[in-house]
């Protein structure tokens, strides 16, 4: 191996250098996850303004719902529903904009070319984005729950901590699986997908049961439970967090956990298929190149 600072690869030639075993492929992809998560984590630590924009402002929406419920003299549990929904909104917005739209921005900046010319799977980049986004979003969710609970004296009654934790994690996996799927749509449709995301945002607020139990949607509840991981997860989590309130769920929490498992698998699988399909289409149509080229 040369002692030049340029040199790193001890292989005798490109043929040997390109012959990677499974372990090296796996290790490189895991490192890519870390690498892509890094700017999000680092950025959130460096740029403190997000605390105001990502925590203080969204908390105001939650407060508005709480005050409406209080004014209407709704059952006290509804205050807790709103706080829990407010916390989960953070994840939905993160999935919609920071996951879905990110590749659109990345193409404009030329990052997409680097991702695609690096010896890694785009799934690693998406997982890295999700992990990095989760760091900031989980902080936001925790702060909203803590502040909301203290300020509005939310009373939780939790019997099944393990199931609650599992449902929460499954919700995140399914939700970020959906985010990965959306990212591949953005990759292909670009600006058009932007409109699609805008189109999704408000209906999901409505159907997702973010500030009221999904069950109150009536016949639409089944649609929400069948399509939106956020709706299923929230419905299950509310049942598990406010056991003192009877009959608030569309389905029993275990059944909803099972739905989340199916959703997680389906969305991740679809994301992988879509990424491969759209990568091929994008390479054929020249959509991976930066806009300025």
């Amino acid at each position: 191996m040369s002692s030049s600072p340029y040199a790193r690869d001890p292989a005798a030639g490109p043929t040997e250098a390109s012959a990677w075993g499974f372990r090296r492929v796996l290790a490189t992809n895991l490192r890519a996850v870390t690498g892509r998560a890094y700017p999000r984590v680092r950025g959130s630590l460096r740029e403190k303004s997000w605390i105001f924009f990502e925590i203080a402002l969204p908390f105001l929406s939650t407060c508005a719902f709480v005050l409406v419920y209080r004014a209407l003299e709704a059952p006290e549990a509804y205050i807790g529903f709103a706080v829990l929904g407010g916390a989960m909104t953070a994840f939905w917005l993160n999935v919609l904009w920071a996951m879905g739209a990110q590749l659109y921005w990345d193409r404009g900046e030329g990052n997409l070319e680097i991702y695609f010319t690096a010896p890694i799977s785009m799934m690693s980049i998406l997982v890295g984005m999700a992990v990095g986004g989760l760091y900031m979003t989980a902080t936001r969710a925790l702060v909203i729950i803590a502040m909301g609970s203290v300020l509005f004296d939310v009373q939780y009654a939790i019997d099944q901590w393990l199931l609650l934790g599992a449902v929460f994690l499954l919700t995140l996996v399914a939700l970020y699986g959906l985010g990965m799927l959306m990212a591949s749509l953005f990759l292909f449709w670009g600006r058009e997908a932007w409109h699609l995301a805008n189109l999704f945002q408000e209906p999901v607020y409505f159907l997702g049961g973010l500030y009221a139990p999904v069950k109150v949607l009536g016949p639409l509840a089944a649609l929400a439970i069948g399509l939106l991981p956020l709706a299923v997860g929230l419905d299950a989590m509310r049942q598990l967090t406010f056991t003192q309130v009877p009959d608030i769920g569309v389905l029993p929490p275990l059944a909803e956990a099972a739905i989340l498992v199916v959703m997680a698998v389906v969305f991740l699988l679809l994301a992988r298929i879509a990424l491969r399909y759209f990568e091929r289409r994008a390479r054929a149509e020249g959509r991976l190149m930066a806009r300025w080229q």
Binding site: P5, Y6, S18, Y38, R46, E113, M289
Partner: protein
């Protein structure tokens, strides 16, 4: 997957790329044949819209060809992308990649992770490359605060992060000032000197850059390679004879004696320049059949007791070659390309 047989580092055969466009499709590459052996720095020289970037995007697996084949390191650009991506890297001019909130050091480390470097190994290599490209002072500066030249140095360091066997350079000095562009070119030269056997493909529309850096150059226009060879070979295409200007202290027998020498096609007193039939000396323009004939001229002058004061070779530039081949300059706008219309087949 069968291992490829040793062959050219980059190879293209009848490569075509057509973009769908309205009202007519645009032919970006029109049957390109190319072979770049390992260890060569190969240049693609052509104006904007010539098809250089399209070719480099196909070779870097970002774009599929419409027809034809291309191989990098022996691997097919359509079906063996993973193996190609493990041994190559790409640096583009005007590139704004990465995230402005990170520091120079953090950004390079992030990219090192995409090539599987271990955490510590990544930091070590990052520091080495930062020193190498001369960004030590900016190490902890945010990427968003870098100047264009510093930014391109960072891109260059990113291009070296995986120690690529094949490096694609797409207009790497685009938009840089003279000094920054010279720095970037110096880094390529240093890289080549330190890493023999590594291959680079450079696209540029700066003829001097191609002339200065490349072992061989292909002149591209409207998706076709019009000429290919070393810069000297290409220049010889437009100049069948070698031209020299010599300055001597005197020329007692006039130019006729020089014109009679073997290999000398013509010898005329220079119409311009210092020392033209002046007390200080005489300047003569010589046209030789080949460079080798100059030795005879120098020997004849020495035998006649004439003192040689100056000698310079007059060479055409690659731009002259381009003009000769295409009928317009490199910087002249191609109206067909600007309008997005399919380019007519060059004659």
């Amino acid at each position: 997957m069968t291992p490829p047989t040793p062959g050219p580092a980059i190879e293209a055969r009848a490569l075509r790329r057509i973009y769908k466009a309205k009202p007519n499709p645009v032919v970006a590459l029109d049957g390109v044949d190319l072979e770049v052996p390992a260890g060569e720095l190969f240049g693609l020289l052509g104006p904007n819209g010539a098809g250089k970037t399209t070719l480099i995007k196909i070779l870097t697996t970002l774009l599929l060809p419409t027809s034809g084949t291309a191989r990098v390191a022996g691997f097919d650009v359509v079906t063996e992308t993973a193996r190609i991506r493990r041994v190559m890297n790409m640096v583009s001019g005007g590139e704004q990649s990465g995230y402005g909130i990170l520091t120079v050091r953090e950004q390079l480390w992030m990219f090192s992770q995409f090539y599987g470097l271990g955490t510590r190994q990544g930091w070590r290599r990052t520091d080495e490359l930062i020193d190498l490209v001369g960004l030590a002072e900016q190490r902890l500066q945010r990427v968003s605060a870098l100047s264009t030249g510093q930014r391109q140095k960072l891109n260059l360091a990113r291009g070296f992060i995986n120690d690529p066997w094949i490096l694609f350079l797409d207009e790497p000095t685009l938009g840089l000032d003279v000094s920054a562009a010279r720095d970037v070119r110096d880094h390529f030269r240093n890289w080549r000197a330190a890493m023999p056997g590594r291959t680079a493909l450079l696209t540029t529309h700066y003829m001097a850059e191609a002339d200065e850096l490349c072992d061989r150059v292909a002149i591209v226009d409207r998706g076709r390679i019009l000429a290919l060879g070393t810069p000297a070979e290409l220049k010889r295409r437009v100049q069948k004879e070698s031209l020299f200007r010599i300055e001597v202290d005197r020329l007692p027998d006039g130019t006729a004696s020089l014109a009679r020498l073997p290999g000398v096609l013509s010898a005329v007193l220079s119409a311009a320049g210092p020392g033209v039939v002046s007390p200080d000396g005489v300047t003569v323009s010589l046209a030789l059949a080949e460079d080798g004939a100059l030795a005879g001229v120098v020997a004849a002058l020495a035998a006649a007791g004439v003192r040689l004061r100056g000698l310079a070779k007059s060479e055409p530039t690659l731009e002259d070659v381009f003009v000769e081949l295409v009928g317009r300059g490199l910087d002249e706008t191609d109206e067909a390309d600007e309008a997005g219309r399919p380019a007519p087949t060059p004659g």
